[in-house]
Amino acid sequence: TTTGLILFFQSGRPLGAGVRLGMGLRMNRTKGDEEEYWNSSKFKAFTFDDEDDELSQLKESKRAVNSLRDFVDDDDDDDDLERVSWSGEPVGSISWSIKETAGNSGSSHEGREQLKSRNSFSSYAQLPKPTSTYSLSSFFRGRTRPGSFQSLSDALSDTPAKSYAPELGRPKGEYRDYSNDWSPSDTVRRLRKGKVCSLERFRSLQDKLQLLEEAVSMHDGNVITAVLIFLKRTLSKEILFRELEVRQVALRHLIHFLKEIGDQKLLLDLFRFLDRTEELALSHYREHLNIRDPDKRKEFLKTCIGLPFSAEDSAHIQDHYTLLERQIIIEANDRHLESAGQTEIFRKHPRKASILNMPLVTTLFYSCFYHYTEAEGTFSSPINLKKTFKIPDKQYVLTALAARAKLRAWNDVDALFTTKNWLGYTKKRAPIGFHRVVEILHKNNAPVQILQEYVNLVEDVDTKLNLATKFKCHDVVIDTCRDLKDRQQLLAYRSKVDKGSAEEEKIDALLSSSQIRWKN
């Protein structure tokens, strides 16, 4: 087995950025989950009409290139390209090798297991000081010292870099300084170089502040934080806060440091002291992200209501709480229904994910999908959600349309756009515009008859014609051309319909009709 172990970290990552990266991933995943629900609401968009030529050009060249493949692929051995393993990683690359050894990564699993019980090991705390650490921080200082570049490869020996080689052979201990009379500015400079340097002698407040000011004027955040760690340890909270209030750069460093090490309590105290109420509220609210249990999360959100958010945010916080409360009820109910297997909709369309912690619109989609016909009184009915959260009409219609179209419930779709006036006449009306309706329907593979119906409702003639052409609603195209008395366009369209089809016949009949006064 091995005798040593090395861990590589990107600086700072172990403290903060790891979380952020994790969040990035998380976000993508949530997005993925939502996509499950939202597939239906993404519109099939336009093609770059005028780029068509170029695309076909591209296709053509692709064919040309592919046709050469037979000739080219006869022997792959003397390939200049990087050799790549089955997974696509270049053979011999480090990422590739890790995958290869992934099978026997036992110890890392062990490691993970241990994480949970770390507290029980904290008694190991008393351990000897580091034996021999070497400073690399002085790597490129460029002073040529004897023996200073022994481990650099020979390749470098004849380049100017030679004289900037690191002082590799020197143990850090040599640099350690026990001297007590470094001035604040010397101390700060030594800290910047990564040297061990005791700050204990700065005991008076004045000395401490001078040290801090030196650090700030040097601009190195690492040093500022180092001094702040010392100040935090050796000053009372109130004094520290008071002094930082007038030192904004240092203050920002302390806030970031507290966030990174997760000292939420001190952070909140600090915001309270500074009277930054909104940040205090947001910071408190942020904690809910770490609570996984939905009920606990809900209870926590309850404590956020009434915190001094901006008026706008307050409303969102209230909504957040109400929404989660709803979702918990809906989730429990639906999970039960689904497992009982008695409800048709859940049998036909099993749920892909839990509805917990989904955004409002996703929740609305869910409820339009599974609970469309419910009476307004139930928590899960779409109308109830619409009222409770004051969802605008447009948004509601878009969402309901997407959900019902996905289920191919064309009657519901119809009803969504039908309004009756007081005389009992029905009229079709779409707050989102019928061109959008058509696109959503097409995205959900609505049959041509349905599409046709809605294409016909598009008011703008050009848009109507475009959509009809795009979605092959032949009748609409033909009728529109007739109404426009546009013989040329009708002629052109004739080439796009199938030979011998009913559409072709219809066009021919129109073209030969003497009743129509064509404009061209």
């Binding site: 590589f8 290139v65 904004q248």
Partner: protein, 600 residues
């Protein structure tokens, strides 16, 4: 197509030395722990490490097993730092094993990390070290510090921890490639980095003196001087590939949809890829034609083998075939990539999106753009995209354009909003303005005179954007008479289809032309950078005329491929060559993700 450099363009310095230095340091660190050892590598360090060393080098230095430390959400930040060492140490103790442990931070260790190790009682069990690897040459003219976290740490949190890293990197460059006779910069961070770097040089005085400068100019620029450019959709090929597939550390994973086979392929994208090198800076609309032409040429070259006699055939196979085959491979890859980009963009309604962006940049049809963005949100396209558009609207229109995004993407987004405002990506709202309906807000913004008074200390970073006025002053929106010919670009605006000259690049152009900030006072004031625009010239007669046409541009907080393309274009026009140093290559999605605060 594929503009050649002017014959008098200067040669680029050789940056491969940086890789060798990094590798030697790595080997040195490995040798610090003699004998067989296992290596745990943090996921984000994998790609950069791959560019420096390979497995056989690690094996030569007795690395036994390699493990990747995943950034799983279950492991929080702090856990990563001390739990892993702690648990490994303790697991070994239980098993009666004694091993040595070393934690290596790259590019530098922080006192905060050591503090955590100390508090948890394993300081001493493990030794800490640094791998001062901060400059990765991704290409002949592109150096990356691979520090994507720089953006959030500095521009959101106001943490200056990376400034020293930047200063060290600049110091390294000046020791290797000579002093920089002309320095310019804009931005608070740029100024601090510059000062710290000068300090470093003074402390180690004398080393760079007497050296001939290889690079005549250095220009430092903060990302927050120009958020707008970074927020735009990219339409030059390399930028589009980055937006679509995400280029990571100079290489991209092309999935089966691109490779037209069942496997993915990791492809290095740099000047060595001959096909890529010719199209990387092109507007996407030119790429098709170019690839078609290339394919035809290739076919013609293959066709030549017909009617060859044995001897000619032998020559053909031994001399040309290999090159042709490689070109063929590359060509089919990039054609596949183009097809895939087209498919994705068509689905996204890209044309409309671009139209809206251009309207925002030019500042008309605001109402229409606003309703487009609203609809974009309603359609649940993607939270990141919607956030991006809102930020663009807010900065270009100088006001808050918050929509009902919470409803759509989960209420946690209100934390993200607060972040965006602090970083100045959403501009400050006038107090008391709590209208959520975008339309009423925007109509108000058009006549908005109430400057929000900045009382909050965090707002010292946030500031009002004066994009419209700056755009006018610097002529960022080219006047178009007739069609803008993207095949023969006439200015840097071609990287945004002729609609907009990237602000960052325009500033650099202007300053280089004047060799100072003279006459740009108004622009600097509008950028809120009056105290942070600087020039520093040393009378350096040793600088050759060639070196004076080499310019190192340092982007603090990231630069986009569009900006790189635009400056490469400028270089070709003026006979300069630009070298790019960035904390990381970025794009709009990365900026938005860095500001997001969503965790479940």
């Amino acid at each position: 197509m594929a503009f050649p450099h002017r014959p008098d363009a200067p040669e680029l310095p050789d940056f491969s030395m940086l890789k060798r230095l990094a590798r030697d340091q790595l080997i040195y660190l490995l040798e610090q722990l003699p004998g067989k050892k296992d290596l745990f590598i943090e996921a984000d360090l994998m790609s950069p490490l791959d560019r420096i060393a390979n497995v056989s080098i690690l094996k030569q230095h007795e690395v036994d097993k390699l493990y990747k430390v995943e950034n799983k959400p279950a492991l929080t930040s702090v856990e990563l730092c001390f739990h892993l060492p702690l648990s490994l140490v303790n697991a070994d103790k239980l098993a009666g094993r004694t091993r040595k442990y070393k934690v290596i931070f790259s590019p530098q260790k922080f006192y905060a990390c050591e503090m955590v190790l100390e508090e948890e009682g394993i300081y001493g069990d493990v030794s800490c070290d640094e791998w001062a690897f901060s400059l990765l040459p991704l290409d002949v003219d592109l150096l990356s510090m691979e520090l994507p976290e720089f953006f959030r740490d500095y521009f959101l949190e106001g943490d200056q921890r990376w400034i020293n890293t930047v200063a060290q990197a600049l110091h390294l460059l000046s020791t290797l490639y000579g002093p920089f006779p002309n320095c310019y910069g804009i931005g608070r961070c740029a100024k601090m980095a510059y000062e710290l770097w000068r300090n470093l040089e003074e402390e180690e005085d004398g080393e760079t003196k007497g050296r001939r400068p290889e690079i005549g100019h250095i220009f430092l620029l903060d990302r927050d001087v120009d958020f707008v450019t970074a927020l735009c959709s990219q339409v030059v090929y390399e930028g589009l590939v980055d937006d679509t597939f995400r280029i990571k550390c100079g290489s991209v994973d092309f999935g089966p949809e691109v490779t037209s086979s069942d496997k993915s392929l990791k492809v290095l994208l740099n000047a060595e890829d001959k096909v890529f090198n010719e199209i990387r800076n092109e507007h996407f609309s030119n790429v098709f034609g170019f690839l078609s032409q290339k394919a035809r040429n290739l076919q013609a070259q293959y066709d030549r083998r017909r009617g060859m006699d044995i001897k000619q055939m032998k020559n053909f196979v031994s001399q040309e075939l290999k090159g042709l085959k490689q070109e063929h491979r590359l060509l089919s890859l990039h054609i596949g990539a183009c097809e895939s980009i087209m498919k994705k963009k068509t689905k996204q309604d890209f044309q409309e999106l671009i139209k809206t962006e251009h309207a925002l940049l030019e500042g008309f049809n605001i109402r229409e753009s606003t309703s487009y963005i609203e609809e974009h949100i309603d359609r649940q396209v993607s939270p990141i995209e919607s956030l991006r558009l809102m930020c663009l609207l807010s900065i270009t229109e100088n006001g808050d354009a918050r929509c009902s995004l919470d409803t759509h993407y989960g209420p946690e987004h209100l934390l993200t909003f607060s972040n965006l405002r602090r970083a100045g990506l959403l501009t400050e709202q006038a107090p008391g303005d709590t209208l959520t309906a975008v339309e009423s807000k925007v109509s108000k913004l058009v006549t908005d005179k109430a400057a929000g008074k900045i009382t909050d200390a965090f707002s010292s970073l946030a500031k009002r954007s004066n994009f419209r006025a700056i755009s006018k002053k610097l002529n960022l929106i080219p006047r178009v008479d007739g069609e803008y010919d993207l095949k023969v670009p006439r200015d840097m605006a071609y990287v945004f289809s002729g609609a907009y000259v990237p602000l960052s690049c325009r500033i650099i152009e202007q300053v280089l032309e004047r060799r100072s900030w003279q006459g740009l006072d108004e622009v600097v004031r509008l950028l809120n950078c009056s105290d942070f625009a600087f020039t520093d010239m040393t009378k350096e007669d040793k600088a050759s005329s060639e070196s004076l046409r080499l310019i190192l541009v340092v982007f603090l907080g990231g630069c986009t491929f569009s900006e790189i393309s635009a400056l490469r274009f400028l270089g070709r026009e003026k006979g300069y060559r630009f070298i790019f140093l960035t904390t990381a290559v970025t794009n709009s999605a990365r900026l938005m993700e860095a500001m997001s605060e969503v965790k479940a």
